[in-house]
Symmetry: C2
């Protein structure tokens, strides 16, 4: 289920700069009964990323309409949970790094919800990755298509009992998971890594940091060490698909750590659900689903 620049196709030009240089960005989002969850926030990040890379921002109404078209074509007419993905590249161009004035490529797709084991909502096991994140403030935070860091880190393990790997920056400070952001709780305060030098600024992380889902959450954005994480009271990871997964164990040869799925993690998780539901209710319903 895919539309490329509005056309029903799954094939793009091999001259697209998204392939040649990873010259583009993407959003992965949850579709609930045909509605993109946290849609406004995804659009804001897409807009921000496009502006930083100098790629024209795609039309929001067009993107939403395309997601809805694809939901309608899906089994069940889009009812229940699906995954939407929006990729925007700088477009198709000749060889050479310098971009000419190009028409961006817009790829919108809808696929089945991942087969996450349901018990992950109660807590997951994670590991430390040896692969570290590339450091570059110019690109930090953007969900761009240069994702070899995450690919290399994800290749480090294949044990389905380990749901996520935690990644450090080059200086050894802890940044995030391979596909999620990381929070720890210490003495009643939420801590998460600053993403000035590397990492992906996830939607859910931003909602938490900006006090959007609960304006009374005590939050501190700062450098986190491995010791900070190991000695934390609670640990959780988050992204726009999974919401919140509490971490109950970090498996490692040297720095084993166990956590309870604690009170503050539960509170953030509930606030996120409440906010997401309210946010969905105020967006345009997809009238054809049902």
């Amino acid at each position: 289920m895919m539309l490329i620049n509005g056309k029903n196709t799954t094939r793009i030009s091999a001259l697209d700069r998204g392939l040649a240089y990873g010259d583009g960005l993407f959003e992965t989002l949850a579709l609930i009964d045909g509605r993109p969850r946290l849609w406004r926030h995804h659009l804001q990040r897409l807009d921000y990323g496009c502006r930083r890379l100098g790629i024209p921002v795609p039309d929001a109404a067009l993107l939403e309409a395309e997601l809805q078209t694809l939901c309608r074509q899906h089994d069940g007419g889009g009812a229940g949970r699906l995954v939407g993905k929006i990729t925007v590249t700088r477009g198709q161009g000749a060889r050479g790094y310098r971009p000419r004035a190009l028409t961006p490529t817009r790829i919108v797709s809808v696929s089945a919800w991942p087969d996450y084991p349901p018990e992950r909502a109660n807590g997951i096991r994670v590991r430390w990755c040896r692969s570290r994140l590339s450091v570059n403030p110019l690109l930090a935070g953007i969900k761009h298509l240069n994702r070899l860091d995450q690919v290399m880190a994800s290749r480090e393990w294949d044990d389905p009992a380990i749901a996520e790997g935690l990644m450090c920056a080059q200086d050894g400070s802890v940044i995030e998971g391979t596909q999620s952001n990381l929070f720890i709780v210490r003495q009643g305060t939420l801590l998460t890594a600053a993403l000035d030098d590397c990492g992906v600024a996830g939607i859910v992380r931003q909602l938490i940091c900006d006090d959007v889902i609960d304006h009374r959450l005590p939050i501190d954005v700062r450098a986190l060490s491995i010791d900070d994480v190991v000695s934390a009271d609670e640990v959780f990871v988050c992204n726009a698909l999974i919401g919140i997964w509490p971490v109950i164990q970090i498996i490692d040869e040297e720095q084993w750590a166990d956590y309870a799925a604690g009170a503050l993690t539960r509170r953030v998780s509930e606030c996120l659900e409440t906010y997401s539901a309210a946010s969905a209710a105020t967006s345009n319903p997809v009238t054809h689903v049902g």
Copy 2:
């Protein structure tokens, strides 16, 4: 002129991991009368990069045959100079960073030789880029598809009188050009940046550093500062298409510098030409060109 996994097409699946994550690598090479110049060295680098990324190495004879097929199809049957490009991605896969066992995608293309102004062989003007290179030893040196660093740097200027931009690492040490490696000459010694943390290990740079083209070249691989470059006796950039371009001027608000296209640069350039010609003569000729 393109073959994708041996098929005459210019379109690939939008699910290819080369597009989704930049999960692959490429070679750009000169084709002289249908023969890939420095072919063995390109193959060695491709092999090395594939192994580091964990992507199966494509068959060398197959790649050469595909380049020759495309040369034959080109205007003039491949006579004169053409540009070959080989891209290898991990293949087409489902959403998610972790690679499953996939069949790599092999994209081989041949295009016209770039319209470089001929006077560049006598000397070029360059500038300093504000965009710095991402630092990650795990990926340093590989000519992978995560090239947003070079894209962002190339966007900084559009003056055709400036042929190249010089890029620094995050710590401000000078590494390379956006599409070339950089050498300086100081007191009769060639100096080039170590690429342990960032940068692309170009074929021509490697030939120079490994004493392949001239075993008597005094060469030192080390960290280079902006002052080292500004105060150098000679400066040149190199890559597999251009060979050697002497730098005659670095244009900058603060660190203006002029150079003569000096003796050691000329010697390296001549050695490279001699080596390339000899290397081409010993490879299989393309019998159908003429």
